[in-house]
């Protein structure tokens, strides 16, 4: 296995150091290593920021079932290019990941692809139908070692089922990741309900439909003493509820997507379905609130909700189009633009919200989201914050073109990614090195 010497990299954006990767681990971190290393692949990392490999708690890889939109191979290659070394693959595949068999299939597909560690998420209910609990224990005990359970795409709206799920996963050290969407309040919903939806005549998805479920769920989590994770929180009111719940000591964590940090419902005006997503793009006041929530720690993590869709599913009338946008290859840049370049977070915070905190929530913190220190597994991402690039779906690894940032210039570029000491990305290109 090749050794790599990252010369002059700035761990977590701090003082430059030479970082030696050898034998799958970080072998040395030295302030000024002048000693030539003829046997190591030397990377000039001057000015580049070194982060722990990013961990996505919310990825849709679409396999099995919709291999025309994404495969585990293409999705995890996209993840590596985005600086990730681990992704949690959501359960809404076909068949649904609601048995040990399906989660093990996804797990093995991830191993075979080799770009990142794939941790399957298990469905909460059989077939995502919201009626009966799936075999959460079997999935937890399987080779895939599932700890995150979610019906994402659908809300566990039945309060009794949600209570049972929260209780049951206590025995598995698991967490319920809730897609908070009150279904009756969002029938036929197409976009955020507000001034823009009223003008352009699309059925509204009100903020209260998200906030009502989050409020109920934090109270349920408190009542049964369990752990709740709120997926893709998108409104100012949701931030307030989570802040209140944390103040009470309730064991809740929350995520925000990159797109909810920068995009608003104004983008729906052109009826371009690339901007159709669930939960929908909200108002500028909501964007400001989720940024503030991420900055003050109310929101624990950024997760992509990478949701690839084929051209046919997007190049049509808004109402007929699928919900979702891709995000793996743009997430770090968007976080840099929204949070770092604005001074709301520093790079150590980025390492927290995109690596160590999601690793801890997903219970993979023994392998991912580790400190950059000697002896730690070499899951690392090298990012050039000074670079700028224009997003072009044709040059992305994801099999689907539905990026909302097409043609937009974003800061930052992932120069290299290492998974257990092996390069998956070098010089911004996907490689499967030795």
């Amino acid at each position: 296995m090749t050794d790599y010497l990252l010369r002059g990299a700035r761990p977590l954006g701090g003082e430059p150091a030479d970082v030696l990767i050898s034998g799958g681990v970080i072998a040395a971190v030295r302030a000024d290593d002048d000693a030539p290393r003829a046997d190591a692949h030397v990377i000039d990392a001057a000015g580049l920021v070194l982060l722990p490999g990013l961990v996505d708690l919310h990825t849709h890889l679409r396999e099995p079932g919709r291999e025309d939109a994404e495969t585990v191979e293409s999705g995890t290659r996209a993840a590596a290019l985005g600086g990730f070394t681990a992704v949690h693959a959501m359960a809404n595949t076909n068949p649904v990941a609601d048995t040990a068999g399906v989660v093990e299939q996804v797990y093995h597909l991830g191993r075979r692809a080799g770009w990142v560690d794939v941790f399957p998420v298990g469905a909460v209910s059989i077939g995502l139908e919201g009626e009966r609990l799936a075999e959460l224990g079997a999935m937890a005990d399987s080779e895939a070692r599932v700890r995150v359970f979610s019906d994402d795409g659908k809300c566990v709206s039945d309060p009794v089922l949600m209570r049972r799920a929260l209780e049951y996963v206590k025995a598995l050290d698991g967490v319920i990741a809730q897609h908070a969407q009150e279904p009756r309040l969002t029938e036929h919903a197409q976009m955020h309900e507000g001034v823009v939806s009223a003008q352009i005549g699309l059925a509204g998805w009100p903020a209260v439909a998200e906030e009502a479920i989050i409020a109920r769920d934090v109270l349920l989590a408190e009542h049964v003493g369990s752990r709740l994770h709120v997926c893709h929180l998108s409104t100012a009111g949701s931030v307030e509820i989570v802040r209140w719940a944390k103040g009470r000591g309730i064991d809740v964590t929350a995520e925000v997507t990159p797109h909810h940090l920068v995009l608003t419902d104004e983008l729906a005006r052109g009826y371009d379905a690339r901007f159709k997503v669930n939960p929908p793009l909200r108002t500028q006041a909501d964007v400001d609130a989720v940024r503030a929530g991420l900055a003050d720690g109310t929101i624990d993590i950024v997760a992509t909700d990478h949701a690839p869709h084929t051209v046919e599913d997007k190049d049509c009338e808004w109402a007929a189009a699928a919900f979702g946008m891709t995000g793996l290859e743009t997430a770090l840049s968007v976080v840099q633009e929204a949070m770092v370049d604005t001074g709301l977070l520093d790079w150590a915070d980025v390492a927290r919200v995109l690596s160590s905190a999601p690793a801890r929530i997903g219970r993979v913190e023994d392998r991912h989201g580790r400190p950059i220190a000697v002896g730690e597994p070499a899951n690392l991402t090298l990012v050039d914050p000074a670079a700028r690039r224009t997003v072009d779906p044709r040059t992305q690894a994801t099999a689907s073109p539905n990026t909302p940032y097409r043609g937009r210039e974003l800061p930052g570029r992932v120069a290299a990614t290492f998974l257990r000491g092996r390069a998956t990305v070098l010089d911004g290109k996907a490689v499967l090195g030795a």
């Binding site: 309900e193 049509c316 009338e317 808004w318 109402a319």
Partner: protein, 321 residues
């Protein structure tokens, strides 16, 4: 003007120009031979994804009076119902050489998509999309208002100072949205009247007033009352349960003989049709001398002629003989 997608896209001068052109064209329609040669050799496609016989024959009549060739394309299976996609339908029309596509679609934004996708070169006219816009309806309403309420020489005039009440299911109404935009642009003051359940969240940003009380609005003496169609299925819980029932709706928001009597004598009663007699409008109101509902239909042909003429003949005024 390349397309007509939304009443909000029209500024005052563009709107007045359409109304003036419609008046000139209407003046030719009293002749024995109604047909004008203006659009001879041009092809207008009526692309209707949603049934609307009234709107389709209005556009068809307008195009034929201008000597255009008309193709009616009832595309029931839209991509919403997983039939042929809008894109493939559009490419087909482009290959057939359509000069204008008049599109009616249940999905808000479909005309916008058609006009901006690059799939067709034709001029696109929105004949009603979802709960978004129906600009030619607003234009024919403005034309009707101007004919009745603006002096003996309305040419060149807008609707400055007129007060118009629009009553009914605003939430689901593209007619209401289009009229709020256009009548405001033309200087009229619009008051929307509806139960709160049938007003969209966000209506406060529209350039109009909003009231929940029809009687109060009528007492202020509006110059025109426009009644919107209310679908009976909105009353069932499956249809959304927007109000308790038809009797309660009629009592609070229906235009009946008593309310008609409150209106100033010069005020006109309008309805985009088709009417639910006995629900939003009583027979006395619908058939009263103040009602201009049938005339709205005739004006619709003139306004649509004007729109097609301005889009396709590029506004060469000398063609209007």
């Amino acid at each position: 003007m390349k397309h007509l997608l939304s009443a909000a896209d029209l500024d005052r001068d563009a709107a007045v120009r359409i109304l003036d052109t419609a008046a000139e064209l209407a003046a030719t329609q009293g002749r024995e031979i109604k047909k004008l040669p203006t659009l001879r050799g041009r092809t207008v496609v009526n692309l209707f994804f949603e049934d609307s016989t009234r709107t389709r024959i209005s556009f068809e009549t307008a195009a034929k009076r201008l000597s255009a060739d008309v193709i009616n394309f009832a595309a029931k299976g839209s991509s919403v119902s997983k039939g042929e996609s809008l894109k493939d339908t559009a490419l087909t029309l482009q290959a057939m050489g359509a000069d204008a596509v008049v599109i009616r679609h249940q999905a808000s934004g479909a005309p916008h998509l058609l006009a901006n996708s690059g799939w067709v070169q034709a001029a696109v006219v929105n004949a009603g999309d979802g709960t978004h816009q129906h600009p030619t309806q607003a234009l024919l309403d403005a034309y009707t208002l101007r004919r009745h309420l603006v002096g003996p020489q309305p040419a060149g005039q807008d609707l400055a100072g007129l007060r118009v009440a629009v009553v009914g299911d605003v939430l689901h109404s593209r007619v209401a949205r289009s009229n709020v935009d256009l009548l405001h642009t033309l200087g009229a003051r619009v008051t929307l009247v509806a139960p709160p359940t049938l007003l969209p969240v966000g209506v406060e940003a529209w350039p109009c007033d909003v009231s929940y009380h029809l009687d109060e609005v009528l007492e202020q003496g509006p110059d025109a009352v426009m009644m919107l169609r209310v679908q009976r299925e909105r009353m069932s819980s499956a249809g959304g349960g927007f109000f308790p029932g038809p009797l309660e709706y009629s009592r609070r928001y229906g235009l009946d003989a008593r309310r008609l009597a409150v209106l100033p004598s010069h005020a006109i009663v309008m309805h985009p049709g088709p009417m639910n007699r006995g629900l939003e409008i009583s027979a006395e109101a619908a058939d009263s001398p103040q009602a201009v509902i049938v005339e709205q239909v005739a004006n619709g042909v003139a306004v649509r002629m004007a729109v097609l003429y301005l889009l396709l003949a590029g506004g060469r005024r000398e063609d209007v003989a």
